[in-house]
């Protein structure tokens, strides 16, 4: 066997032909010299040599690779067959492309979000530290915060004190590197540009421990993370592109941040987005040592964390030695963690008078190959649901195609029978049919890959609207390619094998003699079973589509408790613009007054959090004299508001009075004078904590843990009013017990009630505010309804995609139904002719076919209902305002299914009524 000769076998054949010609010439000339005539000589030579073509063929075969040779033949034959019925081919390839493309697109996102590790050296060696504890914490300021079980008060977190990080570095025997990084902080406007600017602090070994190489310049070396070092910053590739247009001369440039000036020393590679939550990437990465220098212009807790070991504000990761396990790492460092935590408690809370001994926290070690994973986990549910939906679509595509192919192979029985009769081997024929089907699937998969290339971005943009700073990329990498190929191969075998096997198992003489007979028994049964499965699956998808669509409609029309129309929101943050802290409240107040004067504005206010944004602040409530139930959830929501908040939002007071500027001023002075300050609560809180009592004049305070035992008299707040219930975090969420305080620390969101379309006032409002206070940075202008929509963007894209796929599935099922019936009608022409000859009316025949169609569809619906009842439970948490077995949705899906399938069945049925009895009977 010789590959070279295989590839050049045509040329070889030509060579042989020449060689044989040369033999002929020599032999003939010898024959002539023996005295033969020229013609006789040639003829004798021919005889002597034998059949030249046979010789050449023999040599040609010696040169060819049998398998490849026949594969090529099969492919060409397959292509001819496909071209002969372009309608079928287009439908098949398109449906395959949609099925495979949708799966590839969703998988490529799943790959990015769920499976992919950080693009660093040996990511599987990375570990991330977390801790869990009882309700009494050893630390003080946690950034990022602590998650608290609302009933037991058990706590968990992933931030540690700087001291813990240092101890880990000193004492570890199982890790080759330990490194730390802080949460993200906003530095909007620091570089003098509009738009977001985010930063993080990292330990000096952050990049080297991860094994990241710079795209430009250098990353941190050991000396950068020391107090005495020059202040340096590494910028992200994205920031480099956005701000500097990829200018290589960026190295050495300075970025002012608060009181500091940072020198750019390098750029991280484009694919490295850091170890923060998915989709969040710091523009500026600064050594931890620079944090104290930021002072008031940076996050305060970061500047103090080194001298105050009770502040837990760094995330700690490590690279473990290949020989050590997660358990060994934990055992190695648990003692170091505990002693550092205890030291922090002794120096902090305890020295300040805390007496109760805290709970001992427990160290946890988890895989760090994806960095922080909460965002990934939050997305995984909707991605998995989507994978199931597109998986069902692909199954429908497969069964639809299998059915069509089954019908086709039946039509081709004659061709196949003839080939078997002529000695074609069965294996060879199965292979040939399989090749045709695989060819179809490969074509479909190729087009599908194209669809996926566009589809993944569409899908990504859908899931990204939920978060403005969200920016993940998805590439079609090797794993995605592997997935597509695997899907295509499985599809090809599923679709092609059964029809191919069946086609070759037949009664030859019957097939050749009688090509017009209907398929009997198992062929018809298999086709029907496939069709019922298709109807069932598309019915399930229709129900899902209906549930999601109605969920979105419910969310859009839900009563949120305040007037969502004509309300403009924007953010304001004076912090990085060198406003002294004490001046901030008056700046806000000035801004509000200015906005009120803009024509078209009715009223303006501000709050700590925008409503319906998904953001929350959740302390726990304590009411003096009230006994807390052991299993009670005493979580309350906290909202800081400026005067006119309730009036601007349209939330009427039910009891007492609203909050005024005097309340705000009392709050500002309150702590100094130790006077109780005022607050408004909502109806839910009043109902839960003051049942049957007039809440006005009652007192309470909020705490960090549900099991804390209250607070001193001078920290109590007094209730002055009760406001009507309104939705807080999202439209979907139950209205929580809520406290409103009359002042908001920075930054704030402004809310402006307008008389007309709010977005038309943006420029005017911005100009008016910045005229009096050019430093106040205003950003993210949006309407309240747009803000609310963001919180159910996931539901919205689910509704869209499931409707899309549901209709696609319905269409495919109807094509399948049409195909099956059309085929069956064609085969029963004789029978219909006979029936009509014997007196059957057209209506009877129509009924006959429609009954068959309806029977199949109803069987499919019944199966689908059973599946839906079991399956929709899984998505019940994603629905709003309806149960997973919502009767209206199911009725609608049944109606749609019946109507559309009747149409698909009617066309073949009508053809059955057009049968001319004479023609049909004479056909025999």
């Amino acid at each position: 066997m010789n590959w070279l000769r295989f590839l050049r076998r045509k040329k070889w054949d030509a060579e042989r032909a020449r060689e044989l010609d040369s033999y002929m010439e020599i032999e003939a000339s010898e024959n002539i010299s023996r005295g033969m005539s020229s013609d006789d000589a040639k003829f004798a030579a021919l005889r002597k040599l034998g059949n030249q073509t046979l010789i050449r063929e023999e040599i040609y075969h010696m040169n060819s690779i049998g398998f490849l040779e026949s594969l090529w033949q099969d492919l060409r034959h397959g292509a001819r067959i496909l071209l002969r019925s372009p309608g079928f081919t287009v439908v098949a390839i398109l449906s395959l492309a949609l099925g495979i493309g949708a799966n590839t697109a969703i998988f490529s996102v799943a790959n990015e979000v769920l499976f992919k590790s950080l693009p660093v050296k040996n990511p599987e060696q990375l570990v991330l530290f977390r801790w869990s504890s009882g309700p009494k914490l050893m630390g003080g300021g946690f950034r990022p915060g602590v998650s608290i079980d609302p009933v037991t008060g058990a706590t968990a977190g992933k931030s540690f004190s700087f001291l813990t990080y240092e101890r880990f570095r000193e004492q570890t025997r199982t890790l080759s590197d330990v490194f730390a990084f802080t949460g993200m902080f906003s530095a909007d406007g620091a570089d003098g540009q509009p738009g977001h600017l985010s930063g993080q602090f990292v330990s000096g070994n952050y990049f080297s421990a991860l094994g990241v190489t710079p795209a430009l310049g250098r990353l941190f070396a050991g000396g950068d993370d020391t107090e005495s070092a020059n202040l340096v910053v590494v910028i992200s590739h994205r920031y480099w592109e956005r701000r500097y247009g990829l200018d290589p001369a960026v190295i050495g440039k300075a970025i002012p941040l608060g009181n500091l000036s940072l020198t750019i020393i390098g750029v991280t590679p484009a694919e490295f987005l850091g170890t923060q939550q998915l989709g969040v990437s710091a523009d500026l990465t600064i050594p931890l040592a620079a944090a104290p220098g930021l002072g008031n212009s940076g996050p305060k807790f970061l500047s103090k964390m080194k001298e105050q070991p009770w502040i837990w504000a760094v995330m700690v990761m490590g690279r473990k030695r290949p020989s050590s396990s997660f358990d060994q790492v934990r055992a190695d460092l648990q003692a170091a963690f505990f002693s550092a935590a205890l030291q922090g408690w002794n120096e902090g809370p305890r020295s300040k008078g805390a007496k109760e001994p805290p709970d001992a926290p427990r160290l946890e070690v988890v895989a760090g190959n994806q960095g922080l994973t909460e965002s990934r986990e939050a997305l995984s549910r909707s991605i998995v649901t989507m994978m199931v939906i597109v998986g069902i679509v692909l199954l429908i595509v497969c069964s639809n195609l299998a059915n069509l192919l089954l019908a086709r192979t039946t039509v081709r029985r004659r061709e196949i029978a003839v080939r078997i009769a002529l000695g074609g081997s069965r294996a060879r024929l199965v292979r040939q049919l399989l090749t045709e089907n695989v060819l179809l699937v490969v074509l479909g998969a190729s087009v599908g890959a194209l669809f996926a290339f566009w589809g993944k971005d569409l899908y990504l943009s859908w899931i990204q609207v939920t978060n403005l700073s969200f920016a993940i990329q998805s590439r079609l990498d090797l794993r995605v390619l592997g997935f597509t190929i695997a899907v295509a191969v499985v599809t090809g075998v599923l679709v092609g094998l059964a029809p191919a096997l069946r086609a070759t198992r037949m009664d030859l003489s019957a097939a050749i003699k009688d090509s017009g007979r209907a398929p009997q028994g198992s062929r018809a049964l298999a086709g029907k079973a496939l069709l019922i499965a298709q109807v069932a699956m598309s019915f399930v998808l229709l129900i899902a589509a209906g549930l999601f669509t109605r969920t979105v409609l419910n969310l859009e029309h839900a009563d949120v408790g305040f007037n969502i129309q004509n309300l403009l929101l924007f953010n304001a943050d004076p912090q990085l613009n060198r406003h002294p802290r004490a001046e901030v409240p008056s700046r806000y107040q000035l801004a509000m007054e200015r906005i009120q004067s803009v024509p078209g504005v009715q009223m303006a206010t501000a709050s700590g959090l925008p409503l319906l944004s998904g953001d929350i602040a959740m302390p726990f409530l304590w009411v003096p004299g009230r006994v807390r139930q052991a299993d009670e959830d005493s979580t309350v929501f906290l909202q800081y508001v400026w005067p006119n908040f309730f009036e601007t939002m349209g939330m009427p007071m039910m009891l007492g009075r609203t909050l005024t500027i005097q309340d705000t001023q009392r709050w500002l002075a309150g702590r100094a004078q130790s006077r109780p300050y005022t607050a408004v609560i909502n109806e839910s809180l009043a109902r839960k904590y003051f049942p049957g009592v007039n809440p006005i004049g009652q007192r309470f305070c909020e705490m960090k843990s549900p099991t804390s035992s209250g607070c001193p008299e001078n920290e109590l707040a007094e209730i002055v009013g009760v406001v009507r219930d309104a939705k807080f975090t999202t439209v979907r969420q139950e209205i929580p017990p809520t406290i409103f305080y009359p002042f908001s620390p920075s930054p704030v969101t402004f809310e402006v009630r307008t008389k007309t379309d709010p977005m038309r006032l943006v420029a005017l409002i911005r100009g008016t505010v910045n005229e009096s206070d050019p430093d106040l940075l205003l950003s993210e202008f949006r309407t309240q309804s747009a803000q609310a929509e963001l919180t159910y963007a996931r539901e919205r894209h689910f509704a869209w995609l499931s409707s899309l796929f549901g209709l696609l599935a319905l269409t495919l099922a109807c094509i399948g139904l049409y195909g099956l019936l059309a085929y069956s009608v064609a085969n029963r022409t004789k029978e219909f002719g006979l029936r009509m000859a014997l007196g059957a009316q057209r209506g009877n025949v129509l009924q006959l076919v429609m009954r068959e169609s309806l029977g199949l569809v109803i069987a499919g619906i019944v199966v689908g209902l059973a599946v839906a009842f079991a399956g929709t439970r899984l998505i019940s948490s994603m629905l709003y305002g309806l149960a997973p077995n919502d009767p209206a949705t199911i009725a609608l899906a049944v109606a749609l299914m019946l109507i559309v399938s009747s149409l698909a069945g009617f066309l073949p049925a009508r053809r059955a009524t057009k049968v001319d009895p004479m023609v049909a009977l004479r056909h025999e």
Binding site: R16, E19, S22, E25, K48, I55, M62
Partner: protein, 117 residues
């Protein structure tokens, strides 16, 4: 022309034997297909009738194995022809196969020899 008393053996010519004959013929020097065919007939006193056509696949097979190599040359009467030449491997093979053939012939001969008392 074949002699009447010795009918040609061509149909019995076992595959492998033809290879051996070709190799043996080429020991004398490079030759083209026509020459080889005639040489085999001639040297066997026309007992071994080679169907000339079947020679070419055999030549191809031998070349494929590397026992002979080929080149285009000019024949005695000035015509283009493809010449074959024995390679070193081919020469070794010839020795080995000839030995085996002789063994075979002796063995068959022993079996066929009339039994002596």
């Amino acid at each position: 022309m074949p002699k009447r008393d010795a009918p040609p053996l061509q149909s019995d010519l076992i595959q492998g034997t033809l290879d051996l004959l070709i190799l043996r013929t080429l020991v004398l020097g490079p030759a083209h297909g026509h020459t080889i065919a005639h040489a085999i007939e001639h040297r066997s006193d026309d007992v071994l009738q080679v169907e000339h056509g079947s020679l070419y696949p055999a030549l191809h097979r031998l070349e494929d194995r590397g026992w002979i190599s080929s080149f285009w040359g000019t024949s005695e009467n000035n015509r283009k022809a493809r010449y074959y030449r024995l390679t070193r491997v081919g020469r070794k093979q010839l020795a080995a196969q000839t030995g085996r053939w002789e063994q075979l012939v002796r063995a068959i001969g022993r079996v066929l020899r009339p039994v002596t008392e």
